[in-house]
Amino acid sequence: MIASDSRSARINELKKQRRRSPYLWISAAIVAAGVAWAWLGSGSLMGRLSAERRWTNFLNFTESLVPSPVRKSGDWGDALPWAWDLLTDEGFIALLTTVAIATAAILLSAMAVLPVLSLASRQFSRKNPFGVWSGKEDSGTSFRERIVGPGMRFGFVLSRAIPEYLIAFLLLSLLGLQVWPLVLALAIHNYGILGRLWGEVVENTENGSREQDAAVNALSTGRGRFATYATTIVPSSFNRFLIYFFYRWETCVKDATVLGMLGLLTLGKLIALSKGFFWDRMFFYVLLGSSVILAGDLLSTFVRKRLR
């Protein structure tokens, strides 16, 4: 009995010692209120159509996804020549263009992010990076810590805040119908995302790790911040950078597909053109895009396993 009492007293004591964060509780309350409002707030969620009409639409729609030769003959063997024709007509070129746009864009983002990470990093922009005294504390070091670092990080936040589809939509009207608006839209958005993901890798260099020791040694022997970053942190974090790079490439391929809906010959354009009239073709192009993503998924899983 005494043991049980002391145990429950100890449990109560531990409960009292738990970390409590009003910030987290308020955040949870806001999220709960947001979800309740989304479902119970004003307006019907179901739209104007009756349930019966929706069901008929759904049946008609699923029927129209079946390839047209199969609908006529009832033989699924006719689907293969039909799919081959779509692939060789425009599908394959659109697929290659989609992948090329995504690849060029993500490489452009990577080239832009890599050199500026040392300026954006809290670790490198402070007066004493990694705790190493870096010489005279003049207005230059203060400017780097207070203006350049936060400015670069806010640049990352800003560039990832705008959805890529919106950037592409706006740029297309300014630069005309060509590939740059799509590439730039993806590159600008991913500049912010890679800046955050790679930035976390740099910031999270652990105390006592090999990377940190190398950086401290380099700084102690008089090497500059950028040289230290380029010769210690980047090479040692290279594999982690690659993991995030491949993940963003995969996302870029998916995004490049839909950006084509704005008018350039990628899978998105073929999807947009087929919509409403040739649902079977549209569905084929959707599955084509999906198969590239699945292949990319397998590739990035393979690369990650090799790099581990």
Partner: protein
């Protein structure tokens, strides 16, 4: 140690391969530096007007035929913003429970050890099917899901929420299963040693340990859902994206900025809110998969 010594042969080969790939892609899609500038006087004029409008967002509608009793433009902007938030909240409330179920089925952390061979075959099949479903739903972009679902169900807020929720549940489920599988199993092993069943071990040992990472990742996806929700406006669902599209098509650029600024502000605010949550949960983010 100089740069040459710090970078090994593998690094250099990867960088060279990337450089060659970039040049090849740029050549294939005809990416010339001249394309970075507007092509003619009309586009230059349009570009100038668009960026000049950024300094003078509209406080009233630019369309002279706007009815007198129309709601003020800033009220419309905030209405669009609230609708954007509403879709994001609704979609995430569908995606997170679905992802928890799929993430659980797609992880092996709760399997009994040792696992009898027939049971292992069944669990392996469940694991494979749930992983495949997660990959399939996330391999299709939310905008294309929206096109498909709106065509099948008609335009309705629920259709928009489902369109966002489907790919998000796949992405969240995949990351959930990886986070659960990668979670240190020390607590789980200790609980098993004192006689807990595999499922109990998972529920009181492994899952609570993985929970902070699951929460931070879900919040990151909420930020993504907000952006995607805005874009749903381009397929006809009423979010702030629809207002931006309509104003832009009429070349009312000042109105475009009136809608863009609050959208940007909201997304940046949520970004900082998420950073605060991450910091307080004291976890290093496990990356994000979109």
């Amino acid at each position: 140690m100089n740069v040459r010594a710090a970078w090994n042969g593998k690094h250099r080969r990867v960088i060279l391969a990337f450089a060659a790939t970039f040049l090849l892609c740029a050549w294939y899609v005809d990416l010339k530096p001249a394309g970075l500038l507007p092509p003619d006087a009309t586009h230059w004029e349009r570009t100038g007007r668009f960026f000049a409008a950024a300094l003078h967002p509209a406080f009233d509608y630019e369309d002279p035929n706007t009815p007198v009793d129309a709601i003020p433009i800033w009220v419309k902007a905030f209405h669009g913003l609230f609708l954007t938030l509403k879709f994001a909240f609704g979609a995430m409330s569908l995606a997170v429970p679905a992802a928890l179920v799929m993430g659980f089925l797609g992880s092996s952390a709760w399997w009994p050890t040792p696992c009898p061979r027939p049971l292992k075959a069944v669990l392996g099949a469940v694991y494979f099917v749930s992983r495949f479903v997660m990959s399939l739903v996330r391999s299709i972009h939310e905008l294309i899901w929206a096109l498909l679902i709106l065509s099948a169900m008609g335009v309705s807020p629920l259709a928009g929420m489902i369109a966002l929720a489907l790919p998000f549940s796949g992405t969240l489920g995949k990351v959930f299963s990886e986070l659960i599988d990668e979670e240190a199993r020390a607590a789980g092993l200790a609980l098993k040693a004192i006689g807990h069943r595999p499922l109990q071990t998972f529920l009181v040992g492994i899952f609570p340990a993985a929970l902070p990472n699951l929460i931070t990742y879900s919040f990151y996806r909420f930020e993504c859902a907000l952006r995607s929700s805005a874009v749903l406006g381009f397929v006809g669902i009423e979010t702030i994206g629809l207002y931006i599209q309509l104003s832009h098509e009429e070349a009312y650029y000042r109105e475009v900025w009136t809608y863009l600024y609050p959208l940007l502000g909201m997304i940046i605010l949520v970004d900082f809110w998420g950073a605060g949550i991450r910091r307080r949960l004291n976890q290093v983010e496990g990356g994000c998969t979109g």
